[in-house]
């Protein structure tokens, strides 16, 4: 067989085989699995980088089951993907859409290929000058450019460091609340109740207890305030002023609410044992003695002790003095 005939035969054979191959591949009957195809586009939320189709994790399996169900129900691929994205956001889409912000992702490689071809064609047409370089000249040039190089490097470092420090680095929101240091103005009674209930063993909670009890006390809700004052008074961890406040409130509420003079005086005495200089405790004790026990003499003594302290503001002093006058005169309390 001549070389020519052999070539012709080969060309025919190659063309025929190639055509047959293309036909065979193009008519490949196996249809791609829709469920699998959708699953491959979604990142498994509890894994790293794997798709829900590939991941063996239970969550991925559940998501695949959902996809299968939606396919059965006749939803379109895009509708199923959108449903998942509506709860998980575009961050779980492994297959970025060829539109909008991610279009650039698909165009850029093609652009790079075209630019590369362009550069090669340009390079072929414009071969570089074959001027031999003069090293000595280059050395002097390099010295001129050295500062530029250093400057560029320094600039880069500054930019990076600045970028690092300037950006908004919001740390995570407060984790377990620091109970002592919270500004409680905007916090509701319920929140305080919840925090207290969840932290019964935490000594730091006494501050919040007291604040909450004071709120109840101020609106006259003795029933709600009482247990909290009691807890603070009984807490070994509460500070002295906290305990004194709690005991004074407890004493006064016992008298005001239940008219139990003896218990009230005991509580106020406890407060005075911790803080002997407490004018409030002394004054309230005097009131209980005067109104409850009728022990005018001791009441008058206590009031005088209160008056001995100069810190009283004029208004309070006036009230205390009028009370003293009333006690001295043997008047019943108001």
């Amino acid at each position: 067989m001549s070389e020519r005939a052999r070539n012709t035969l080969t060309v025919i054979a190659v063309a025929a085989m190639a055509a047959l191959l293309v036909v065979l591949v193009a008519t490949n009957p196996s249809s791609p699995d829709r469920i699998e195809a959708i699953g491959e586009r979604i990142k498994c939320p509890v894994c790293q980088g794997e798709s829900i189709a590939a991941s063996p994790s239970p969550m991925a399996r559940d998501m695949m089951a959902l996809v299968a169900e939606r396919v059965d129900q006749g939803h379109s691929d895009e509708a199923i993907v959108d449903e998942l994205l509506s709860s998980y956001s575009g961050a779980v889409l492994l297959d970025p859409p060829r539109s909008g912000l991610t279009l650039i992702l698909w165009i850029a490689p093609l652009a790079a290929l075209l630019i590369g071809i362009g550069v090669i064609l340009w390079w072929r047409r414009h071969p570089p000058d074959a001027t031999p370089a003069v090293p000595s000249l280059e050395r002097s040039r390099a010295w001129r450019l050295a500062p530029l190089l250093i400057l560029a490097g320094a600039f880069a470092v500054i930019v990076v460091v600045a970028g690092f420090f300037l950006q908004d680095r919001a740390g995570p929101a407060s984790g377990v609340a620091d109970l002592a240091g919270q500004d409680l103005d905007e916090v509701s009674n319920e929140t305080m109740e919840a925090v207290i209930a969840a932290n019964v063993d935490n000594p730091q909670v006494d501050g919040m207890r007291l604040a909450l009890a004071e709120r109840y006390y101020e609106v006259g809700d003795f029933r709600s305030a009482f247990p909290h004052y009691l807890a603070v008074a009984g807490s070994g961890a509460a500070s002295d002023p906290q305990a004194v406040t709690a005991l004074i409130r407890l004493g006064w509420m016992t008298w005001e609410g239940n008219r139990e003079a003896t218990t009230a005086i005991d509580l106020l005495d406890e407060a005075l044992a911790i803080e002997p200089d407490s004018d409030t405790a002394r004054f309230l004790k005097a009131q209980v003695l005067w109104c409850g026990n009728g022990d005018l003499e001791q009441a008058a003594d206590l009031i005088e002790e209160v008056l001995d302290h100069s810190e009283l503001n004029p208004e309070s002093r006036q009230v205390v003095e009028s009370d003293l006058a009333a006690i001295r005169a043997g008047e019943p309390c108001a």
Binding site: N7, T10, A13, V14, M17, L20, L21, L24, V25, T27, N28, P29, R41, K43, Q48, G49, E50, S51, P56, P58, S89, G90, A91, V92, L93, L94, D95, P96, L101, T102, I104, L105, A108, P109, A112, L113, G116, I120, R124, P127, P128, D129, A130, T131, A133, P135, E138, R141, A142, L145, L148, L149, A152, G153, A156, V157, V159, V160, V161, F164
Partner: protein, 675 residues
Amino acid sequence: MLSFLGSAGMLVALLGAGLLVGRGVVAARTERPTNLEGAARVLLAGAVVAMAALVLALMADDFSLVYTANHHSSLTPFPYDIATAWAALEGSIVLWGLVLAGFTWFVLRRYRRSPDRLGAAALAVMGAVSIFFFGLMVTVANPFEVCVQALEVGCAQSSPWPFAAVDAPANGLGPNPLLQNHFMMTIHPPVLYLGYVGMTVPFAYAIGALALGVPGPEWLRRSHRSTLLAWSFLTAGILLGGWWAYEVLSWGGYWAWDPVENASLMPWLVATAFLHSGIVQQRRGMLQAWNFILVISTFALTILGTFLTRSGTINSVHSFTQSAIGPALLGFLVLVLVGSFVLFSTRSDLVASSPRLDSFASREGTFLANNLLLSVYAFVVLIGTTYPLTLEAFTGTQVGVGEPFFNRLAVPLSFMLLLVMGFGPITPWRTTEPGSIWSRIRNPAVLALAAGLLTALLVTRIGWVVLATTLGVFVVGTMTGLLFDQAERRVAKTGQTKWKALKTVATGDGPFWAGQLSHVGVVLIAIGIAFAANLGTHSETRLAPGDSASFEGYTVSYESPFQRTSPARTVIGARFTVTRDALFIATVEPSWNFFGGGQTGVGTPDVLHRPGGDLYFTLVDLPDDTGAVSVTFDTSPLIWILWLGGVVTVAGGFLAMAARRRERVTADERASVDV
């Protein structure tokens, strides 16, 4: 004690690196042969001492070191205790430093043999890079900090001062369970680092040549050779990583386009481009500027990859925890890129190379096509990996980019590369006649199409599989044709026996034929991936003990659940017997492994390797009270071809190294001779 030893090692290495830079710069500028060995020795000794201190601390369960306390436990068995030395962030930098010091020694040995300015400048650059990495170790990633406030297990507070009052915990937290599930984890990182860090050497020669203003064949020859070495290790490292993922992670895959995988693929692609375009410069003196760009980019991409996996800016399978190391690496990356490219610009008159391209239909033309495709490939990986965070930085919009994106672009690019690979070796330099190409591709084309048809008719009509077989046979066919052609000519000329002639041809141009061997490896990888990815099957069933299921012609019988407990780990699994046509094949035991008494189980597949492909068994859950368990069966047809291809590719790289070594003497003459 070990903290002191390690800290001293780091500081000594830092000192050695500084000395190397100082003396190297002097040597490079004065042209006087200078003894740089002392500085390099100090650097290497310091690095070895640092690594040894870390390994000793791990082997001796010395929990006074924070690193040991937080990444090791007394239960961790050999060899995982040693592997822990590079499994966490700080330790991985120590390994990096050690490998870098080793490569510096490799550069020094060449310098010692023939001292010249280029070698001295390259050593200075190696020293500068070492300063950065050992500086990193001393400052933000210090593995030798001592624990000054222990927790029950692990450490709460540390001090970099080795003599601080130590408060060592009784035991450490132990390594990540995933990393102690397979011995591969002890080998994969060092091999990968040999590849990654090895890319510093070609970079050092390139920067040395640019700084000295001495372009030409010399820097290229050295860069090319060291790239070949690093590339071989990088290839091996990437494949070992894939194999580890396949054998250990339960999802049956080897590649997921995870950022950490992409980080290793990018420098590989660019280094591969350089391996090819470097030949063009060696043979024809062209593309010098482009080669500088490729070498600089390869090194920068290794730093970028390190940054991406260690800074916490990208979510990844094995990203290390966030620390101040991110900004440091990013700053270094910017310095490298800005410094190198500004230097490149100031030397633009020197780097331009003059010869003109005669014709696109030439070996040069195929190399250009190869470089264009590989560069675009690397760009696809780069943009896909970094686009989500770029977009979020600018618009706050969160998008995901994953496998479908990469596959859609990378698969066509890979096949185009295969096609070019088929033409490259048979195309002569300078220019070619269509007739000569036709005569070389005629038979391979017929053979390739026949193979494609056979695949389509007998195996599958899935396009990618058919295409992979066709192109694979074409590549191997043209290359084999060339080999036999040359051997035949040799037989005619010298009268050697055919076998002898083949040997003479193959060893006569060793680097070329070693490169062709790597091409065969790449073809095998492509075919392996095409088959395993497209023809794998999957099935899942729930079995009670005594039940059996049939799958792909095999019968899988569930024997019983089992539990094995050792101090280090508890294995809970299920034992299956696999039979085919009533013939016993094997017993498989997929399991869940629990380490150190922890609650965290690692699903561990059992893989049955068969000639037709692997059978892959995983447990979906733990056996329940009755012993029933859900199990998945997967097949990966012909996947062993992928691993074989990997071995062949790497072997080609190392053989090319060896052949280059033999040829070094005649290298100068060869470079000036055109075919």
